[in-house]
Each structure stands twice: as structure tokens, then as C-alpha cells.
Amino acid sequence: MLEFVLCIIIVLSAILALIQKDLLKAAILTGFSGGALAVLFQILLAPDVALTQAIVGAAIVPVFIALAVQKTQREDS
């Protein structure tokens, strides 16, 4: 049951990230998507991939995007 919820979270947060006007929110939603993907990997019997994805997808990538947004501009004009 959990995997269906996670699938929906992944797709929904991906779509929401693309329709946000605020780029910082988009970065956070990317982290949501990556984190849910990490949990899904754990359910799919791949704990090593899940650990890497949790670090990269839920922490590093959103931080990179947030840094880029901070150095450029926040709102999507």
C-alpha cells in the first residue's frame, strides 16, 4: 500500500515543482520527490541505493538548487 502512496507523492511533487512560481519552493518539492524515491528504493529491496538517493536526492540536489536560486533570482518571471 505504501508504495502506491509514494508513487503518487513522487509524481505529484514533480508536477507541483514545475508549476511553482517561487523557485525556492520548487527546490524543496524536488527534495520531496527525491526523498520519496529513496523510500521507494528501500521498499524495492535496494537499501544501498536508498541510502545514496536519500543523501543525493533529498539533501544535496535541493541544496544545490537553493544555492543557485539564492545567487540568481527567486521568483519565476
Partner: protein, 128 residues
């Protein structure tokens, strides 16, 4: 449990399609890069789903496990190893793209792809 695999395959297809949509229709360059990174995630999810075995166990041989039972019940570990590499490559590619965007923002002052990455022969007016 075939439903699980079907749902996951559909999710990975959805991620790829969202990424391709973003590549064409989203104008903001940072959002475009976020969208393109979803293609990579979709491909990763698909490859992990190959190795998944319904009702199986994690492919780590613990002491005290029966080897033949483990061989017939463990998930297939080769795709997991591949995805590890792929995730790291995707993150580094994203980092390089964002770094280039930060440099280009200083020159153009906007994140619009139509301005920033237009035909080079038409960009003379933006060049200081």
C-alpha cells in the same frame, strides 16, 4: 504483487514524460534543469524495478542463511549497483549545469531561456 511493479513502471514513465514536457515547454532555466533531472530519476527507478523480486529479500547474505534459499529468493543486485553510479552522475551533471546558469545570470540578468540561450547571432544586443 505484479501491481507494485506496474505502478512503479507507470511512475517511471510519468517521470520521463514530465521531464520531456519540462524540456520543451518550461521557460525558466532552473525549472527546466529540475525537470530534466526527473528524466534521470525515472530511468533510475525503472532499472531498480528490474531487480525487484516480489516477496524476495534484500540481496545481502547474512551469516546463518541457507545459500540455496537465498539464491532463489534474493532480489537481483546487479541493477542496484548500476543505479548507484547513475545517481551520482546525475547529481554531478546537475551541479555543473547550475554553475553555468549562475555564471550566465550575471551576464543576462534573467533566467528566461528565450533570452539566455537564443541563437548566438541574435544575442549581440545583450553583450556589454
Amino acid at each position: 504483487m505484479a501491481q507494485t511493479q506496474l505502478a512503479i513502471l507507470l511512475t517511471s514513465v510519468a517521470l520521463v514524460v514530465i521531464g520531456l514536457y519540462a524540456a520543451i515547454f518550461v521557460d525558466n532555466i532552473i525549472k527546466k534543469i529540475i525537470g530534466i533531472s526527473f528524466i534521470e530519476e525515472g530511468a533510475n527507478l525503472f532499472i531498480v524495478a528490474i531487480g525487484y523480486k516480489a516477496g524476495g529479500v534484500v540481496p545481502i547474505l547474512m551469516p546463518g542463511m541457507d545459500t540455496s534459499w537465498f539464491a532463489s529468493n534474493a532480489a537481483y543486485p546487479l541493477p542496484f549497483g548500476l543505479v548507484l553510479t547513475s545517481i551520482v552522475i546525475g547529481a554531478s551533471t546537475l551541479a555543473v549545469m547550475l554553475a553555468l546558469v549562475m555564471v550566465l545570470y550575471r551576464r543576462y540578468g534573467t533566467l528566461s531561456t528565450k533570452v539566455m540561450l537564443a541563437d548566438t547571432s541574435k544575442q549581440e544586443e545583450y553583450n556589454e
